[in-house]
Every structure is written in C-alpha cells, then in structure tokens.
Symmetry: C2
C-alpha cells in the first residue's frame, strides 16, 4: 500500500480513503491511485482491514446438519444465501454448528471473524438465537423461534401453505384428508416447520369442515409406508393425504401400490414444502407446494445487510416475512374416488 502511495505520489492515507470511499478525493488523484494499484497488482489485505475497521465482510451461515444429511431443499437456502452475499462482496462461512455445541458457536462469534450470521433450521426454542442475541452480534433467521421478538426473519408461511393444500384437496371434492408430517423427534425438539404445519393443517382442515387425521413419520420410505397403512386402518374413508416429508412420501406411494390403488384415481397425494427437483422424480409427478428456498436464503442475508448498514444509527425496524409456497400441480391429485 505504501508503494501504491509513492507511485501515485500521495500519502498512504489517501490511498486508504480512495479504497473505501470514506471521504471525497479529487478525480485526478483517484485515477492516479487506481492506476498505481493496477500496475502494482495491489490487493488490500482483508485481515488488516478487518482488524482496523472492525468490519470483516464475512457472514456465517449456521446450519445444523440433520441426522441423515441435508435434503435438496435445505441446500437451496445455502446457495441462495451464498449468492446474495457474494453480490455484495461478502464471504459466507459454512458453519455446520450442531445445536448441541453452543460452545462452538461462542467460539465462532468470539473470534471477531464474522460481521453477522444467518441461522437456519430454527427451533421454537433455540439456544443459538438467544446466544447470538446476548452476544450482540447481528443476525437474521431463516425460520423463526416461538418468540421472534424484534429479530428479522424470513420463513415459510406454513399456515397459508397448509390452508392452500387443504383448499386444493377440498376444491377437488375431498372430505376426509390426512397429514403426514416430519419425524417425532423433529416434533419433540420443537422444529418450527413440523409444529407449525401441524397446527396449520389442523386449523385449515377444521375450518374447511373436513374430517382429518395426522401423523408424525420418520424420514424414510419404510416409515412412510407403515404410516400410510396405519392411517388408512384408522380412517378407511381417507381419500387424500398432505405430506411434508420428502423422504417418506415414496413409501406412501409404495403402500398405495400394495393395496392396488392408483394415484390420483383412488387416492390423492399433495406434497408440501418440497422442491420440484424432488417431486418430479416421483411417478406420478407429485402435486407440490414448492418452497421459495433460494429466495429465503437471499432474504436472510438481505435482512442481515439491513442491520449491518444501519449500525451506529438507531436500529431499523426488523423485517419479518412469511412467504407462501407455490403450487405446482402434478399428477398426484384429483377428485376423490366414489367408493361404495
């Protein structure tokens, strides 16, 4: 940097100002500096800059790795976030911080490495959220805890999505529907989507005057298969099922096949919060409510930027957005059969 200054015949500090536009610089001077930088192949050192300015231009994406690896859907958050960050010249640290390791999180934030964080896979009661709030480090969430307070978040509107799913089935004429949710363990740890979708479904189905049943289900095909059989045993009049479980839905299809039922003639299936990248692999292609994953990721970092940009000024009002899932009609939903 000192070389650049000499070559451009200005003071060291002037170069600095030219770099981060913190103060007005005459046009000629600026050009000389830029040229000198160019010629010398100068690159500002991110660490030094961060050390001095307290701004690292690094964000962390906190995503706890679920038991069986992340699904397609979760990944789209990440890439959306990474893209948005890069567009603003920020780096994104992928931090597989397990929820259990609150210690790891403390370490990460304590290092002064990151300007802020985006928290994924939020639970209704999430230690990470509290910890970040106390640590005073800016962050936003993809998902939300029970009490978001004034923290910015972007989440799927589960209430709306389940209502839409119910409306879709009810519109086709179904009168008795079921809901296949995520795993019991997801529910018991208070994983947001699991709990909210369950509430939403119940509410929407009642509201629409439908008979309804629901069930939690481990995230794999055999569990899905078993779950379907049980549901049907308990409610023989079931004609349609809403599923929020990408891994289990295949098992449901297997089960239908076993009893000789055809989709959608004998039974309707609607997948929710499931990427089309997955539902299009099934046969028949599933009718699905596709989550705006990449957009949520982008929103997450955008909200974080809003906070970072306003640092020093009074804190901006938090942005809290719920996005609906988009209906993609497939070949798995149709009018209910007329069973005797």
């Amino acid at each position: 940097m000192i070389d650049v200054a000499q070559r451009a015949d200005v003071a060291l500090s002037t170069v600095s100002y030219a770099l981060n536009g913190t103060r007005a610089i005459s046009d000629g001077t600026r050009r000389r500096i830029l040229q000198a930088m160019e010629e010398l192949g100068y690159r500002p050192n991110a660490l030094a800059r961060g050390l001095a300015s307290k701004r690292t231009n690094i964000l962390a994406l906190l995503f706890p790795t679920p038991e069986r690896g992340l699904g397609v859907t979760e990944m789209e958050f990440a890439t959306g976030a990474a893209d948005a960050a890069r567009e603003r010249g920020y780096h994104l640290i992928l931090s597989p911080s397990e929820l259990r390791n609150v210690h790891d999180l403390e370490q990460l934030t304590g290092q002064g490495l990151i300007d802020g964080a985006i928290v994924m896979e939020v639970r209704l009661d999430d230690e990470r959220v509290e910890l970040l709030a106390q640590a005073g480090i800016p962050f936003s969430m993809i998902g939300r805890p029970r009490e978001p307070g004034s923290i910015s978040y972007a989440d799927i509107d589960f209430e709306q999505t389940t209502r839409d799913a119910i409306a879709h089935l009810a519109g086709l004429g179904h009168r008795c529907v079921g809901f296949l949710n995520h795993s019991p363990s997801a529910f018991s740890v208070g994983y947001g989507p699991t709990v909210r979708a369950a509430d939403g479904f119940r509410h929407a189905a009642s509201g629409a005057g439908l008979v309804h049943v629901e069930r939690l289900c481990d995230d794999n095909a055999p569990a899905g298969r078993a779950a379907f059989h049980e549901l049907r045993a308990g409610s023989p009049e079931l004609t349609g099922l809403v599923v929020m479980n990408e891994r289990a839905v295949v098992g449901v299809i297997d089960a239908l096949d076993e009893i000789g039922w055809t989709v959608p003639d004998d039974f309707s299936l609607v997948s929710i919060v499931s990427s089309t990248q997955v539902t299009e692999m099934m046969r028949p292609k599933l009718t699905t409510f596709e989550p705006p994953s990449a957009e949520l990721g982008r929103l997450g970092v955008q909200m974080l930027f809003d906070q970072l940009d306003a640092e020093g000024d009074d804190p901006p009002p938090p942005t809290q957005e719920l996005l609906p899932c988009r209906l993609v009609v497939g070949g798995s939903s149709g009018p209910p059969p007329r069973r005797s």
Copy 2:
C-alpha cells in the same frame, strides 16, 4: 489479552505462547493462564492472529454453480469438507466462484483471507487450477484436470466404476448395453466425469466383448426419455443401460413405461455416480454405484492440511486418490429378457 497476562501474572507473550503451544510452558503457569482466560471470558481474535501469523485458519471451497442448481451429490462434498475442516478448527468459506470469473478468484486469493482452497467440479482444462498454482496458494482438488501434475486430488475412479457397471450387467447376461451420459455442454467444456466415464464405458464394454452404444443427454427427464427412444431405435437389441445422469434417468423410466417394458424384466437400468438418497426415490429403486461424496470432501481438505502442515519443509509428495463407487443393488437390474 493484556488483562489475562496481568491476572495470571505473566508477560503478554507468555499468554500467546500458551495459546498456540509454540513453545514449552511450565504446567503451573499454563494453568494460571487458562484460568485467567476463563474468568475473563477471553477469546483470541482471529483476525489479529491471522494478520500477525500469516495463518488465517480459513479454507475456501470453490464450487461453480451448475446451470440448474447443485444436486444432492455435490452438496455432500460440501458438508463432508465443512465437517473435516471444523474438526481441525478451520473455517470453510463457500465460494460460488463461477469459472468465468477468474477475476473473482484472484480477488479471493489476493485478499490474504484464506490459507488454501479446495476446488470442485474440475474440468480437464481448468483456469482456476492454473491460476491457483501460479498464485502459489495451496490447494487440492475434488476431481482432476487432464494433467494433475503434482497437485493433490481425490476423485472418483470412473474407469473402475464403469468397468464395475459393465461387469454387473455382463454378469447378468447382457450382451448389448448403452450408456447415457451427462449433457453435451458438460462434455464440450471438458467436465471431467463426463469425459472419463465415456472413455471408461467404451473401454470396459469393448473389453467385455459387449456391443455398446452411448449418448450424451441434457439433465432433465424429457431429454432422458427422448434419448432412450433414440438409443433403442438405433439399437433394438439393447437390453441394459448405464446412466450417469440423475435428472434424466426418470425420463428413461417414463420411456420404458411408454413402450410397456417392465424393469428389470424387460430392461435393466444401472445408475452410476448417483446418491442413494436419489435412487431410492425411484420405483423400482435403482441399482446404483454410489459415489463416496462425503469422503471425497473430507479427503480434499485432508490433503490440503497435509500441504499446510508441511509449509516451510520440503513439499510432501502429492496424494492422488481415486475412489471407486459402491454398488448398491436395487430392483432395476436383472438378467436380460429372452426376446424372440
């Protein structure tokens, strides 16, 4: 840190040494220091440390985002890498550096932010590889260019995998098989897997004395469907197909369905380099050669560590590993039909 020193009644530097074990410290002293740190809730600042030591403990994962988003398989590299990095106390920056933006890459490396990089989705001729080599920054690859030279890499053994796939089909009695590859564009830009698998297939099929045909295919179901029909039109005696295209294989199943063929009775399908997370969603479950994705990711960072650890000493011999895919027998492959 100065506070810690005072509290422990030692010099500033002693605290530093205690922290990074650069030199022997008496046991009592160390304990006092550790305790003082604890009591003061002291956390070393990563930036300052990096600035002074030239070691940031940050790695970058370079993955160009393919046109249609990353698949499950690619993501497993990333999480494997992130895990391995974290285990050693390193951070992993997710860098969606487009290949085209060699400029972005220069920026990243020039910033002095990263100790090294792991390059994903390597092409036979890859600008990034050359750039990193010239820039003198340590890196390893998941995949490999045409001339890996003495750069460390971990890649899938495509030769072996295609040979295994052929052996599987030949062992079942097939005499005429086809290969459905990735897209023409992937091939034309010299994407490693596409080229190597094509060569491998051809070689293995000839070696086994099988009649064989092959075809490139865009990464979507309709393309897969069309491709199958064309292959069959050209080679009516085809009884089995090896597919390295997660997105297209569904289309093949559709096509088979259209002509009334059952899998595996009328036709055999073998997916290669495809995660079971995907193939288990298909019906029938696909026989697949599953790539050791997470392991490749781990290996990638491990190799990088080997280099970083040896910095200063003479460079260690590069590690270059080819891992086979693991056969997971599904319900899509069986003996060929006896057609008249």
